[in-house]
């Protein structure tokens, strides 16, 4: 499964030519075999609560040509906050409701101080550095190690390298630095393609990664499993209470998971009336309760309903 977690969303999505260009890019990603794409919206300045995600997802399924199963693509939303002033409060906390209107949150630090903060304290999923130009600071081991420990990923965007030669040099140099500091861990490679022609196929990117000094297996991870880790990190940040418990509506259960709510029909109907908070992620009691499983489950259900 291949991911592209940075496809710039058009700045004026209502204009026709921007819309068709955007459509073209998504179609090409599907053709290349990507299965997840994240539309990126860049914000500079304070992240107010009124800056709710403007991203509208495309209707991908309607492009099906008759016959044959067309692969589709999963669409996510992402915000990148450009941070220029370390002292200012950018409102990057989970209390900010506008943040949770996006699936993935990234920051783009512009100075060393902010980079350290981003690695150590900010509640984000991705740290994005503008690698197409000269970085204003060195990437150091200390903060990077902290970020890796916290499960934050660093991003390399390859489109600037395809756009022109000067940024290609900068990108290769910066990317090699980053790879050296992180030892190839916690890196994702994304496109940031303004035009469809700047996109590349997944295996072309893997080869590009080997040029930047990542080995082939790790380069493949950069566009697959690492990106998945980012998405999981983001959902954990958004949908859980302290990354321990999450709630899901009972209607989201699949048929073969229905046993989790118990066999009593009555309980099920009652519970679905009680919409929203119904299924509880069970944490500890698994094996030793197998015999009296049903009773235990029911009693737990009762607890929740009270």
């Amino acid at each position: 499964m291949f991911y592209d977690l940075n496809l710039p969303y058009p700045t004026q999505p209502d204009m026709a030519y921007q819309q068709t260009e955007f459509r073209k890019r998504v179609d090409l990603l599907i053709k290349f075999g990507y299965q997840v794409v994240a539309y990126n919206h860049v914000i500079s300045g304070k992240f107010n609560t009124n800056k709710i995600s403007p991203i509208r997802k495309l209707d991908v399924a309607d492009k099906l040509p008759s016959g044959g199963q067309q692969p589709t693509i999963e669409q996510l939303t992402r915000v990148t906050v450009v941070i220029e002033d370390a002292s200012q409060n950018y409102g990057l906390t989970s209390a900010n409701s506008a943040i949770s209107s996006y699936d993935i949150v990234a920051v783009q630090p512009t100075s060393e101080k902010i980079f350290q903060n981003a690695c150590g304290t900010y509640e984000v999923d991705i740290i994005s550095l503008e690698m197409g130009s000269r970085l204003p600071f060195y990437i150091k081991h200390g903060p990077v190690g902290l970020a890796i420990e916290r499960g934050i990923y660093f991003e390399i965007c390859y489109a600037p390298a395809i756009r022109d030669a000067a940024s290609r040099r900068h990108l290769i140099s910066n990317a090699q630095n980053l790879v050296r500091v992180t030892r190839g861990k916690n890196i994702i490679i994304t496109s940031e393609a303004q035009r469809a022609i700047e996109l590349r196929g997944p295996y072309d990117i893997v080869n590009l990664g080997t040029i930047m000094g990542i080995n082939q297996a790790m380069a493949k991870e950069c566009i697959s499993t690492s990106c998945r880790a980012v998405v999981m990190h983001a959902t954990t940040r958004r949908n859980t209470y302290r990354a321990v418990i999450s709630f899901e509506p009972i209607s989201s259960l699949k048929q073969n998971e229905m046993w989790k709510v118990g066999h009593d029909e009555k309980v099920i109907t009652e519970k679905s009336d009680f919409k929203g908070v119904s299924k509880r992620v069970r944490l500890s009691n698994d094996d030793n309760d197998m015999v009296e499983g049903n009773e235990v489950e029911k009693s737990q259900d009762m607890e929740i309903e009270q």
Binding site: T20, K24, D27, L28, F32, P65, S66, G67, G68, A161, I162, R163, A165, R168, R195, A196, I197, E198, L199, R200, G201, Y203, D204, I205, N207, L208, T210, I211
Partner: protein, 159 residues
Amino acid sequence: MVRLKNRWLLFEIIFEDTLQRRSTSTKNVETLSSKDVYSAIKDSIKTNFGDYGVGCVAASLNVKYFSPFTNIGVLRVSRDHYHIAWGAMTFISQIKTKNCLLRVLYLGATIRQCQLSAIDYDRDQILSLKRQAELHDDAESVNVDELLEQSSSQILAIE
């Protein structure tokens, strides 16, 4: 004496102006030849990897086949330096005057497997062309079997 080992890259060229209307790829006004593709790749190696890169691959680099009809081609390069050629292909954004991108479909150690996957790809392309033609009710419906036969015999003719 150690045998010279090669890598065979099956690649596809996607043009910017045909992204929207895929069926028009047959109506390219000026079609590319394998020579054009070869020189584009070589130029890209020169700009991205310099004289050293050109020197590494010059002896083995060769575009064995390029079909302007389905826009796929086969490139041979020595095994030790294939990532140079591939990287250079990734950085290409223009051939002659047309904006395009190159995408590697298959990387193989023998030409045989490359040919097989080229035939597979051609078949998919031709079938999707046919489907599109049917959708638009084109009277001159393409003779699929003939095209298939033609392309596969051409591909198998590569030595």
